[in-house]
C-alpha cells in the first residue's frame, strides 16, 4: 500500500468537490449540524481486527503471579515459541501484586499502559453461554466450527443474531444509536479496510480504499458535468435484477457519503501527529483524519473498522508475529497521540479482536495451531488502564482451562461481554444491549470493569 500523504488526500478531495458541486449547500448544512452537536457527547469506537488468529500467549506473559510464573510458560513453549524473559517489557497488574511481561515489540503500548490508558483483557473467546471443560468434552454448547478461520472471524464480527444473520454487532449497535447522529445522513460505520461484516447492518457503512472515497475529479466542463449527471441517473434504472439493484444502491449511497466526507475533509486542517507508514498505520491515520472533521460531518457517534494480518502463524511464528506486533504497537500509539492532539482521548476507545488464539503447545514448523480464548487490548483515556482484566488461564497442558491438551483455553470472558462493555460505554442503553448481543443474558456480569 502506498503512503498517502496529507497533501495527496486533500488534493484528491479538492478535485472531487468540483464534480459533486457540494460547496453551495455545505454552508447551510454545517450551521444546522453545529446547532445540534455538542462536543462533549462525541464518542468513537475503533476495532482493529487481527485476522488469522493472533497468538495472545505471546502478547502478555505471566512473570510472577499468584498462580504461576515465567517458567510455566517457558516449559511448554520451549525454544521455538517461547519469548526470552529478558526481552519482555515488565508491567504490573492487579493493584501491583502481579508482574507480567509484554511482547518485546509492544514498547510504545507498554508506555500507554503505564499511563493508565490501556488495559489487557484476558482470555476472551466466543461462547453462547458459560460452559465447563466437561461440557466441552461432551460437545455441549461449543461454538460451531470453533477452529475454522471463516466461521470464527464471522462470529467475532457478527455475533450471529437469529433473525438477522448477516448483520455485524457493530452494525446493530449503529442501528440502535442512529438517532444520535440525526440529522446527518453520514454512515455511523466506517471501514478503512474494505467491506466489513462487523459494520453490516440496516444502515449502510462507508468504506475507504487507499485514502480515497469518491469518483475521480471532474474538470467542471459541460461534457464532464453531463457525464456525471447521466452516471447518477443510470443508477436509478430498475432492471428488476437483484444483483444489479444492489450494486446501484451501494453506489448511490457511496456517492452520497463521498460527497459529505470529501467536503468535510477539505475543510479540516491537518493533524500534526505522525503515523508510521505501515498498512495498519495508514488505516489508523485515515481514521484519525475522519474523526478530526467529525463536526463537519455533523456526527456524534462513529464506529471504525481497521484490519490487518496475517496472524495465522502455523509456522515461523516468532519472526512473523514480531513484525506484525511492531507495526501494531507503533500505529496504535500514534493513534492515541492523535486523539490527545484533538483533545478527545477520553472519547475514543480502540480495541483489538481476532478470530481465536493459538495453542500454547508448538506444532512442527515453529508455529502453533488454532485455539480459542485469547488476550486483547483496549486503549483510551476512558479505559481503566494499567491493569489486566479477567481471569488469566493457567499455562499448563491439561490445565484447568485447557480443553484439548494442547493449551486451548476455555474463555473466561465471552465475546458478548467484551462487546457489551464497549457498546454500553458507546451509548447503547442496558435494555437495548440484547438487541446487539443475543446471548448476553447468559453471562454475569453483563458488562466488565475495563470501561
Amino acid at each position: 500500500m502506498s503512503l498517502i500523504t496529507r497533501r495527496t488526500l486533500l488534493r484528491m478531495t479538492a478535485r472531487s468537490l468540483g464534480a459533486l458541486g457540494a460547496s453551495a449547500c455545505l454552508g447551510r448544512l454545517s450551521r444546522v449540524y453545529a446547532a445540534s452537536t455538542a462536543e462533549v457527547d462525541y464518542k468513537a469506537l475503533v476495532c482493529i481486527f487481527l485476522y488469522g488468529g493472533n497468538d495472545g500467549n505471546n502478547l502478555i506473559v505471566p512473570i510472577k503471579t499468584d498462580a504461576q510464573s515465567y517458567d510455566d510458560y517457558q516449559k511448554v513453549r520451549g525454544a521455538t515459541l517461547g519469548l526470552q524473559q529478558k526481552t519482555l517489557g515488565l508491567v504490573h497488574a492487579r493493584s501491583g501484586k502481579e508482574v507480567y511481561g509484554l511482547h518485546p515489540q509492544l514498547g510504545d503500548l507498554g508506555g500507554i499502559y503505564e499511563q493508565g490508558k490501556l488495559a489487557f483483557v484476558a482470555n476472551v473467546g466466543t461462547l453462547t453461554r458459560p460452559i465447563t471443560k466437561h461440557e466441552y468434552q461432551q460437545g455441549n454448547a461449543v461454538p460451531v466450527n470453533l477452529f475454522s478461520h471463516s466461521d470464527q472471524q464471522k462470529q467475532w464480527q457478527m455475533v450471529s443474531m437469529p433473525g438477522a444473520p448477516h448483520n455485524g454487532w457493530a452494525g446493530r449497535a449503529a442501528d440502535v444509536l442512529a438517532a444520535l447522529n440525526a440529522p446527518s445522513t453520514f454512515p455511523i460505520g466506517i471501514s478503512v479496510s474494505g467491506n466489513s461484516l462487523f459494520l453490516s447492518g440496516d444502515q449502510p457503512q462507508a468504506s475507504i480504499i487507499n485514502g480515497q472515497l469518491g469518483l475521480d475529479g471532474s474538470d467542471g466542463s459541460p461534457a464532464e458535468n453531463a457525464r456525471d449527471a447521466a452516471f447518477q441517473q443510470i443508477l436509478k434504472f430498475d432492471s428488476g435484477m437483484a444483483l444489479i439493484q444492489k450494486v446501484n444502491r451501494v453506489t448511490t449511497d457511496a456517492l452520497d457519503a463521498a460527497r459529505q466526507l470529501n467536503s468535510a475533509l477539505s475543510m479540516g486542517s491537518p493533524l500534526k501527529t505522525e503515523f508510521p507508514a505501515s498498512g495498519v498505520g495508514e488505516q489508523l491515520q485515515q481514521v484519525a483524519r475522519i474523526i478530526h472533521v467529525r463536526k463537519n460531518l455533523g456526527v456524534n457517534r462513529q464506529i471504525f473498522y481497521v484490519s490487518f494480518g496475517d496472524f495465522d502463524t502455523h509456522s515461523d511464528a516468532m519472526s512473523r508475529q514480531n513484525a506484525l506486533l511492531g507495526e501494531l504497537s507503533a500505529a496504535m500509539s500514534a493513534f492515541y497521540n492523535a486523539t490527545a492532539e484533538m483533545g478527545i482521548e477520553r472519547q475514543v476507545v480502540t480495541f483489538t479482536e481476532s478470530e481465536f488464539g493459538r495453542t500454547l503447545q508448538p506444532s512442527s514448523g515453529a508455529g502453533s495451531d488454532h485455539a480459542w480464548g485469547s488476550h486483547h487490548m483496549v486503549m483510551g483515556a476512558a479505559v481503566k488502564g494499567g491493569d489486566l482484566h479477567g481471569s488469566f488461564p493457567i499455562l499448563a497442558l491439561q490445565g484447568p482451562e485447557d480443553v484439548t491438551g494442547r493449551g486451548v483455553w476455555l474463555p473466561s470472558i465471552s465475546l458478548e461481554q467484551y462487546g457489551a462493555t464497549l457498546a454500553a460505554w458507546f451509548g447503547v442503553a442496558d435494555n437495548s444491549l440484547a438487541k446487539v448481543f443475543p446471548n448476553l443474558a447468559n453471562f454475569t456480569p453483563r458488562k466488565l470493569a475495563f470501561l
Partner: protein, 683 residues
C-alpha cells in the same frame, strides 16, 4: 443594303465594342459595388448577388460569369436578378468572376467553387457479413474524387454518378459490430458526410450474437468481436472441442527466489487478454480460488509458477488428479505447512501440523456441513477435531522432491511433487473423513491414496466443487436443480472436470437469457470480480496489452490482488451473503469504496488506457460519434450485446451530445455503459 449603310452598321458595331471597352477601360469599377465581394459556393447551390452604385441607387445590370453573360454550365449560371448557381462539378480552375455591368460601369465579385457536401441516403447492403463485398452508396453530392470511408480507413471508390458510388469492402469483426460508412469529398472544400452505420455480422450464425456474447462471458475472459464471430461461425460444441484441445498458456519457468511476482502478474494479464486457451484459463483461475496459495507466504516465482502451471494443466483433468497434485505441491506444502511435516514426537512435545488437513477438508473437498447433491444441507457436520488430527497424521512424512532419502528432509525444491520419507510418516491407524479407517503400517503413499479416494468420492465433494465452479463461471446462486444436474455429472463421470464444465455451461439455467433479456431470472448472474471486470473490458474494447504491464494495480484497488489473496479463504467467500440474504460471493468486495473505485478504473481505461498499459482504440465508436444514437447502439453491441434499455440509451445520448468533440463523446459513452451495473453484473 448599300455599302455605305453596311459600313455605318459595321462602324456602329465596332464603335459599340470599342466603346464598351473604352468605357470599361476608362470607367471606375468602384462605382458599382457587388456584394458579397468574395464567397465560397458549393456545387449546385445558389447565392444571390447584389449590385449597387456607390451613390446607393440600385443599378440595372447585366450579370456575367467569367465574362459570359448569364454564365454557363462550366462556371455556373447567373440569372438577371443576380442569383448565381454553381455548376454540378467545380472546374479545374475553380475561381470564377461574377460581374455586374451597367453601361460603362461594372463591378466584380470573386467566387470560389467548392465540391458539394456529400450525404448518404442508403447503403446496399445495409448489413455486411464478414468477408469481401461490393457496397453501393446512394446519396447526393458525390464527385469523381469522392472516397468511401469505412471507419477511419479509405477504400478505392468507383464514381458512378453524383448520386451513387460503389466500393469493395472487407468486413471483419470490429468492436460494436458496426462499421461507420461515410463519404469524403476532396478539395476544393473537402467535407465528410455524416456516417451511416452498417452492421457487420456472421453469415450463417450457429447461434445469435446475444447468445454468443453471454456464453463467452461465462466460458472465457470475456467476448471480443473476433471471439464472438468465431463462436457464431462454428457453434458451441465445436468451440468447446477446440478449447478442450487447446494447449495451456503456461507461465515462463523460473528458479528465482526473490519475493516478487511482478513478471508473473504481467504474464497473467497478457495471457488472459490474448491467450487462445480461454476456457482453460478461466477454469484454472476459478480453481485457484478454491485451492488457494498466496504470494503473501509463497511469493517467489520458483514457488508460484509451478503451482499456477499445475492448475492450468489439470483444469481439464480429473478432480482426483488435481487434488493429488495440489496436496503434493511443494508450494502448497509451504503454504499450508505440509512439507516436512513429520509424525508427532512425544519427547519434543510436537504434533503433526493440522493446517493442511483442516483446509483440505474445509475448503478443497467436503466443507464443514453435510450436503445433498443439490447443495441443500443435511444438518450434520462432516468432521470434527478428531478427524482433523487423524487426517494430519495420515499426511505426515512428505518432503521436497530430490534424492530418495530414508530420514531427514530434502532441501527446498519446488519442481515436481513432494516425495515420501517413511521414517517421518505416522504409521498408526487413523479414522479419516467419512468414518473411513486407515489401517496401521501403511506407507505415506498408501495413506495419501486413501485420503484422496475418500475425499474424491465423499458425497459432499460433487456439490461442493460444482457450486464453486458454477459461482465463478455463471451465477452466484444457482437453483438446487441446476446444482444437482452438475453434481450428478461430477459423480457419474468420476470427477471429470471437462464433463462438469460442459454441463455447467450448457445447462438450460446457464443458457437462459440467450434468446431474450427478459428471460433472465431476477437473481441470475454474478457481479464481475475485479480481475474479470478489468480483463473483460480490455477484451471487449480490443485493448493492446503491454508485455511489461503493471495491470494488477487496478484489480488490487478493487479488492483482488492477483496471486496474493489475503488468506486461504480467497479474496471472498463462496458463502458470503449480503445483509439482505442474497448469496453473492463477489459482493464481499462490494463496498462504497470499491463501487466508486470501479468507475474510476473504467475512466482510466477510456482516458489513459490503464496508465498506458492497455490502450484501447475507440476509433470504431468515434467514427459513429456524429450520430450519437448509432454510436451508443454500437457500444451496446460491444458490451451488452444489444440489451441496453431504451431509456438508459437516451440518457447517454443526451449526455454525450453536450460536446462536439467526437473523441470525448466516444469515451464518455463507453464510460457510462461500462460503469453501469448492467455491465458490471454479468447476467
Amino acid at each position: 443594303m448599300n455599302s455605305v449603310a453596311l459600313k455605318i452598321a459595321i462602324a456602329a458595331m465596332l464603335g459599340f465594342v470599342l466603346g464598351a471597352s473604352a468605357a470599361s477601360a476608362q470607367g471606375p469599377a468602384a462605382e458599382l459595388v457587388i456584394s458579397p465581394a468574395q464567397i465560397n459556393v458549393r456545387a449546385e447551390s445558389s447565392r444571390k448577388f447584389f449590385a449597387r452604385l456607390t451613390s446607393g441607387a440600385e443599378a440595372k445590370v447585366e450579370w456575367r460569369v467569367n465574362g459570359v453573360r448569364g454564365g454557363n454550365s462550366t462556371w455556373g449560371t447567373i440569372d438577371k436578378d443576380g442569383m448565381f448557381t454553381a455548376p454540378e462539378v467545380p472546374p479545374i480552375n475553380n475561381a470564377v468572376k461574377v460581374e455586374a455591368v451597367a453601361g460603362r460601369v461594372s463591378g466584380a465579385a470573386f467566387v470560389t467553387l467548392l465540391n458539394p457536401v456529400p450525404s448518404i441516403a442508403a447503403l446496399e447492403p445495409k448489413t455486411l457479413t464478414y468477408g469481401e463485398h461490393e457496397i453501393v452508396v446512394r446519396g447526393n453530392g458525390f464527385v469523381a474524387g469522392s472516397e468511401i470511408k469505412i471507419g477511419n480507413a479509405t477504400v478505392p471508390t468507383k464514381f458512378v454518378s453524383s448520386k451513387q458510388l460503389s466500393a469493395s469492402v472487407k468486413a471483419a469483426p470490429v468492436a460494436g459490430s458496426t462499421l461507420a460508412i461515410a463519404v469524403f469529398n476532396p478539395e476544393p472544400g473537402s467535407a465528410l458526410s455524416r456516417p451511416v452505420p452498417a452492421i457487420v455480422e456472421s453469415a450463417h450464425p450457429k447461434l445469435s450474437y446475444l447468445a454468443a456474447g453471454r456464453f463467452l462471458e461465462q466460458a472465457s475472459w470475456g467476448p471480443s468481436a473476433e471471439s464472438i464471430a468465431h463462436l457464431q461461425d462454428i457453434g458451441i460444441d465445436a468451440w468447446l472441442a477446440e478449447q478442450f484441445a487447446a494447449r495451456a498458456t503456461l507461465y515462463k519457468s523460473s528458479s528465482s527466489a526473490a519475493e516478487n511476482l511482478i513478471d508473473e502478474q504481467s504474464e497473467f494479464f497478457v495471457h488472459a487478454v490474448t491467450g487462445r486457451d480461454q476456457l482453460r484459463q478461466r477454469v484454472a483461475f476459478a480453481l485457484g480460488q478454491v485451492f488457494v496459495v498466496s504470494g503473501l507466504k509463497t511469493g517467489q516465482p520458483r514457488q508460484m509458477v509451478p503451482y499456477q502451471n499445475m492448475l492450468l494443466e489439470d483444469a481439464f483433468g480429473t478432480y482426483t488428479k488435481l487434488l493429488r497434485d495440489v496436496t503434493l505441491s511443494p508450494t502448497m506444502g509451504v503454504y499450508l505447512d505440509m512439507v516436512n511435516d513429520d509424525k508427532g514426537d512425544p519427547t519434543l512435545g510436537t504434533s503433526p501440523n493440522e493446517n493442511y488437513a483442516r483446509e483440505m477438508m474445509q475448503l478443497f473437498s467436503i466443507g464443514t456441513v453435510g450436503l445433498n447433491a443439490d447443495g441443500t444441507e443435511t444438518g450434520k457436520a462432516t468432521y470434527g477435531q478428531d478427524t482433523i488430527t487423524d487426517m494430519a497424521r495420515a499426511l505426515t512424512g512428505w518432503t521436497y522432491p530430490g534424492k530418495a532419502i530414508t530420514q531427514g528432509h530434502n532441501p527446498e525444491n519446488f519442481d515436481g511433487p513432494m516425495i515420501a520419507v517413511e521414517a517421518n510418516h505416522d504409521e498408526g491407524r487413523k479414522t479419516i473423513a467419512g468414518g473411513v479407517l486407515i489401517p496401521a503400517k501403511q506407507s505415506a503413499e498408501q495413506d495419501l491414496e486413501g485420503v484422496l479416494h475418500t475425499l474424491s468420492t465423499h458425497p459432499n465433494t460433487a456439490p461442493f466443487v460444482s457450486l464453486r465452479l458454477i459461482q465463478h463461471l455463471v451465477t452466484s446462486d444457482p437453483s438446487p436443480e441446476y446444482l444437482r444436474r452438475v453434481s450428478e455429472v461430477f459423480t457419474s463421470s468420476g470427477g471429470d472436470l471437462k464433463a462438469v464444465v460442459r454441463q455447467i455451461l450448457l445447462d438450460p439455467e446457464a443458457r437462459r437469457g440467450d434468446d431474450s433479456p427478459s428471460e433472465s431470472q431476477a437473481k441470475a448472474g454474478h457481479w464481475r470480480e475485479p480481475v474479470l471486470a478489468v480483463v473483460a473490458m480490455m477484451r471487449a474494447l480490443g485493448a493492446n496489452v503491454r508485455a511489461d504491464n503493471r495491470l494488477e494495480r487496478f484489480p488490487t484497488n478493487l479488492g483482488q490482488r492477483v496471486f496474493y489473496p489475503p488468506s486461504v479463504f480467497n479474496d471472498y467467500s463462496p458463502d458470503y451473503r449480503t445483509p439482505n440474504g442474497l448469496l453473492a460471493p463477489e459482493f464481499e468486495l462490494l463496498s462504497s469504496g470499491t463501487a466508486l473505485m470501479r468507475a474510476n478504473v473504467v475512466r482510466n481505461l477510456v482516458e489513459k488506457g490503464l496508465n498506458g498499459d492497455a490502450p484501447c482504440d475507440l476509433a470504431p465508436f468515434v467514427a459513429l460519434a456524429a450520430s450519437p444514437g448509432d454510436m451508443v447502439d454500437a457500444i451496446d453491441q460491444a458490451l451488452l450485446y444489444g440489451r441496453l434499455p431504451g431509456s438508459v440509451k437516451e440518457q447517454i445520448v443526451a449526455a454525450v451530445t453536450a460536446t462536439h468533440d467526437y473523441n470525448l463523446r466516444a469515451r464518455n459513452a463507453v464510460y457510462l455503459v461500462a460503469t453501469s451495473a448492467l455491465y458490471q453484473v454479468q447476467h
